[in-house]
């Protein structure tokens, strides 16, 4: 197991962590230089505004590592209680995982296997529709270094990296002087398609404001133009809110590009059409490969949501929304995805890891979660941990603990922790719970 420990230092002494990995967003920048004094990071060189906030505001939570029904308890009691809750449940669910290292995600998958439970990640509420579209049409994609070295037409669709992934432009997509783009930004054309003029739109050479909820129609307009299908200009304007000539011009640029890239975000996946939108975008990208090289890539949010997709997939064959009630994995988004399982009143106990459904799920889902025994692992107090029967305060991955995370393009990176936490890691908590679960259900491997 990967257990890279933070370097030790005398009290007050400054230490420097080079090439530290930031897990705030899916860019997972691995070039951060942290200066650490005692239990504080005092400088985070090269980090963006979000990364700086992530590193510099981090402090050790002054709260017990374990609370049972709101009262401080020993970790041992917490592990025992958590294991009992999970084993006694008829429909236990485990949810979250996107801000945990792969090592912890793997243990969570084992637990869910031993309890015949359901496992789901925050993918189901962000790029889950992309995963479903992927199952339908596949994907033509590349690693982010390919974008930096080759991408001469960079499109952002329903994605606003200037605010969500601040180093996206400078590190991967727009500014880098790549192998085949020696002049960096000057060698690239940037197109933003969105329903409003985002901060990213200001960085674009061409901004195409489309009608809200018209992504599907806009993408199919482009698919038709790619294949020289004649379109009715009035209908295109009516359906997409954009003149046909604008789409024609874009298609000419797309065909003329040497290596086109479309990054897409939740503006596409979580609006009307959902997975059908993504399917249209992935199909358009595929179509474009009949004319030139073209790739697409979702701009993933959480630091290790891509790792969660990978771990759950290699363990079960499916990347999210996986149910083991029959003793083997089954996949059905809309049924085994946590927001649905809860809103339908089906789960009878839950364990959440590094997520806060009490803050962001629908009211029926929250109401049900409040009614059932809940185990919550988080680095800080949240509405979910406040509602938990057993709440563990855990160390923060990438700052206090090591492990593996996957960048949004599936590149795995090792974490380089900065300083120790008095709290256990989520890996440790889950491992302790798993051991007890195995004893209770009689698993011996």
């Amino acid at each position: 197991m990967i257990t890279a420990a933070p370097p030790s230092a005398a009290p007050g002494e400054l230490k420097v962590i080079e090439d530290a990995v930031c897990t705030f967003c899916g860019c997972v920048c691995d070039d951060i230089e942290l200066t650490v004094q005692d239990s504080h990071i005092i400088e985070a060189k090269r980090a963006c505004v979000l990364g700086k906030a992530w590193f510099l505001n981090h402090s050790i939570e002054d709260r017990p590592s374990c609370l049972i029904e709101g009262k401080p308890a020993s970790l041992e009691e917490g592990y025992d209680r958590a294991a009992r809750i999970l084993v006694e449940g008829k429909y236990p669910i485990i949810y979250g995982l996107s801000d945990s290292p792969c090592e912890a995600q793997r243990v969570a998958c084992s637990i869910v296997d031993w309890i015949d439970g359901t496992i789901d990640t925050t993918t189901s509420v962000c790029h889950g529709p992309s995963g479903m579209a992927f199952q339908g049409v596949g994907e033509v994609t590349c690693s982010l270094g390919e974008v930096a070295n080759r991408g001469d037409l960079i499109m952002f669709w329903g994605s606003n990296p200037a605010e969500s992934h601040p180093r996206h432009f400078s590190k991967y997509s727009l500014m880098p002087k790549g192998m085949f783009l020696p002049n960096g930004r000057k060698d690239r054309t940037c197109v933003v398609v969105d329903v409003r003029k985002t901060k990213s739109a200001k960085a674009a050479d061409i901004f195409i404001p489309i009608k809200p909820r018209a992504d599907f129609e806009a993408l199919w307009t482009l698919r038709a133009l790619a294949k020289d299908v004649e379109l009715d200009p009035e209908q295109v304007l009516r359906d997409t809110g954009v003149e046909l000539s604008v789409w024609q011009n874009l298609m000419e640029r797309m065909k003329a590009a040497k290596f086109g890239v479309i990054f897409f975000g939740m503006g596409l996946t979580m609006t009307r059409g959902k997975h059908a939108n993504t399917e249209a975008l992935l199909a358009l990208t595929r179509d474009m490969n009949a004319y030139t090289r073209f790739v697409a890539k979702p701009n993933r949010g959480h630091g290790n949501v891509t790792g969660a997709d990978n771990v759950v997939a290699w363990r079960t064959g499916y990347s999210f929304g996986v149910n083991h009630n029959r003793g083997y994995p089954r996949f059905n988004p809309g049924e085994y995805t946590t927001s649905d399982t809860l809103a339908n009143g089906e789960a009878d106990c839950a364990m959440t890891i590094a997520c806060d459904p009490m803050a962001n799920f629908s009211q029926p889902a929250r109401e049900h979660l409040a009614r059932i025994p809940l185990i919550a692992l988080d680095t800080k107090e949240t509405p979910t941990s406040r509602a938990a029967t057993v709440a563990f305060t855990v160390a923060t991955y990438g700052i206090n603990t090591g492990g593996t995370v996957y960048r949004m393009d599936d590149v795995p990176l090792p974490l380089r922790p900065a300083f120790e936490s008095p709290h256990p890691s989520d890996f440790e908590v889950l491992t302790q719970i798993e051991q007890r679960v195995k004893t209770l259900v009689g698993v011996t491997c």
Partner: protein, 554 residues
């Protein structure tokens, strides 16, 4: 503490590496290894396995399959439809649950291999940037020793070193890359062709002497340069090559040129079946077998070995590091398609496919695979593979064994195929039947030797105690699909199809020595073009869990 012994008595042993062809022998096991019978009269025998009337072989070795890492996992995500209707693996007291289909989940992969009597497997195509991922999956793929081959045939540094005629730099890079990724061997996939694909619509190289633009090298130069580097480094396994033009009618000429390009260096041509086609212009009517001239060349050149990449009829998933091939297949089949280009290193293509016995092309592919087994004279130089899952699942190995050992069965299947197949290949005229000893060679002793694994593929003292015991049966498919017992590292893991015990298994890797002064040049290049940091690239020893460093050959 005195050693505790396990003894297997009375079995009919097939151990071709030690010249034992169906003789009754006892085997002694201690500490996970096969040992000499103890001379001490007080030796503690903690377990005796009566193998009277049973066949005993070393554990199987799959030297070319796709079981872990980025592209395998993408294929799992992409194909939910297979799993819903596929076999379900329930969790038990000793095993995890899993899913099947053509790309089983990690635990399912381990359980199914060991259930088949295979104890070692090598993933054949890992992009270095995804090496850490492959190691993570290996840790969740139990019951097997495993390793992987590192994709190098389109690596920019490799091409640059060859272009500049700097063989020492190339050697250092190959050694550094294998050590950094904790890989086992160097793999070339469509050398040069994937780089062309990255920068041109439907781009590819056309043959051994096409130029790769920007790098001004040819596939022939890449093959020759890499073969020399690998031999000079004395890597346990030769260069492992997926030739250019896979699947194309008329590609046999490219394959023959590839064999020549090794110029006497060691070389392993993988999934040779996919590279042995006559005909041309993508015209189905001209498609035919060219195994005969290629097998002749193999028979007369002892530096070369092959594995077959047998096609079986049915549905599967094609997955390859050959990006342009993935594009080609996606157009042929019209289904979903995944492609991913990895910076500086490699490509990838995945698409669902189906081999139909009524199709002339598919039937010929099936026949061409069998021809390879039957037309290479020396069984030590031909290895059983389906290129899992590309030609079919590894679970088809028992069926292939039957096809090789039973010519009547072979002819019966041939009759169900397209009638023109007999005219396009010589399978109908081949009467050779494999013996059990030859099966033991092409499934364990041979691959162990080709991989340079001295402690695997045989049952002599010092070998890993990886042993499969079969119940003899006239129908060899029945015999091989359900071993009586499978022993891994001295532990009985499978008893009559039931998994009784599990272990993680070792990761087999190499760390060749190299001129450390060369590393600065690699770092300068790396920092210029990669999107991750130099220090975050090498896979640390923490990821190896149980492992074994395989030494360089002599």
């Amino acid at each position: 503490m005195p050693l505790e012994y396990t003894k297997i008595v009375g079995g009919t042993v097939y151990d071709p590496a030690n010249g034992i062809d169906g003789l009754i022998r006892d085997l002694w096991i201690a500490d996970g290894k096969i040992v000499e019978p103890p001379t001490d009269a007080d030796a503690v025998v903690s377990k005796t396995i009566d193998a009277s009337g049973l066949v005993v072989m070393p554990g199987g070795i799959d030297m070319h399959c796709h079981i872990a890492g980025p592209k395998v996992n993408v294929a799992r995500k992409m194909r939910p439809e297979e799993k819903r209707k596929g076999e379900k693996l329930h969790r038990t007291k000793v095993t995890h649950s899993g899913t099947m289909g053509s790309v089983p989940s990690t635990f399912a992969t381990g359980y199914k291999y060991i259930g088949l009597g295979y104890t070692t497997a090598f993933d054949a195509a890992i992009p270095p940037l995804g090496a850490r991922h492959a190691h993570e999956e290996f840790d969740d793929t139990p019951c097997l020793d495993k390793g992987f081959y590192v994709l190098m045939g389109n690596n920019h540094y490799v091409m640059q070193s060859i272009q500049r005629k700097e063989p020492e730099r190339l050697k250092a890079f190959v050694a550094w890359l294998l050590s950094s990724t904790k890989g086992f061997a160097a793999k070339l996939v469509n050398p040069g062709g994937v780089e062309v694909w990255k920068s041109h619509q439907a781009g590819n190289v056309s043959g051994l002497d096409s130029k790769v633009d920007h790098f001004e090298v040819t596939p022939r130069e890449i093959i020759r340069g890499m073969a020399q580097a690998v031999d000079e480094l004395r890597l346990p396994h030769s260069v492992h090559i997926h030739c250019n033009n896979l699947g194309m009618p008329g590609n046999w000429a490219t394959t023959l040129e590839t064999m020549k390009a090794f110029e006497g260096h060691r070389g392993h041509i993988t999934h040779a079946q996919f590279h042995s086609y006559g005909g041309g212009d993508a015209d189905e009517n001209t498609f035919n077998s060219k195994v005969a001239p290629l097998a002749d060349y193999i028979n007369s050149h002892s530096n070369l070995t092959i594995d077959v990449g047998q096609v079986l009829f049915g549905e599967t998933t094609s997955m390859t590091g050959d990006g342009p091939l993935g594009y080609y297949l996606s157009k042929v089949y019209g289904g979903k398609w995944f492609s991913s280009d990895t910076e500086m290193e490699s490509g990838c293509g995945i698409t669902p496919i189906k081999y139909k016995n009524k199709s002339l092309v598919h039937g010929l592919q099936w026949a061409i695979g069998l021809e390879w087994y039957l037309m290479v004279n020396d069984p030590w130089r031909v290895v059983m593979s389906t290129d899992h899952p590309n030609g079919g699942s590894f679970l088809a190995y028992p069926q292939i064994i039957r096809l090789l050992m039973d010519r009547t069965y072979r002819q019966d299947i041939l009759k169900t195929c397209h009638p023109m197949i007999r005219e396009r290949c010589s399978l109908g005229d081949l009467t050779r039947e494999y013996t059990l000893n030859e099966i033991a060679i092409i499934t364990r002793a041979g691959p162990a030797r080709i991989l340079g694994l001295k402690h695997k593929g045989h049952l002599g003292p010092g070998a890993d105690a990886d042993i499969t015991i079969y119940t003899p049966h006239e129908n060899k498919e029945v015999m091989f699909e359900l071993p009586r017992m499978v022993i891994k590292s001295g532990r009985v893991l499978v008893d009559q199809g039931e998994i009784r015990d599990t272990l993680t298994g070792k990761t087999l890797h190499v760390a060749p020595g190299y001129d450390q002064d060369m590393e600065q040049g690699i770092q300068d290049w790396f920092e210029k073009y990669y999107s991750i940091r130099w220090r975050n690239y090498p896979v640390s020893a923490d990821y190896l869990h149980e492992s074994e460093l395989v030494p360089m050959g002599l």
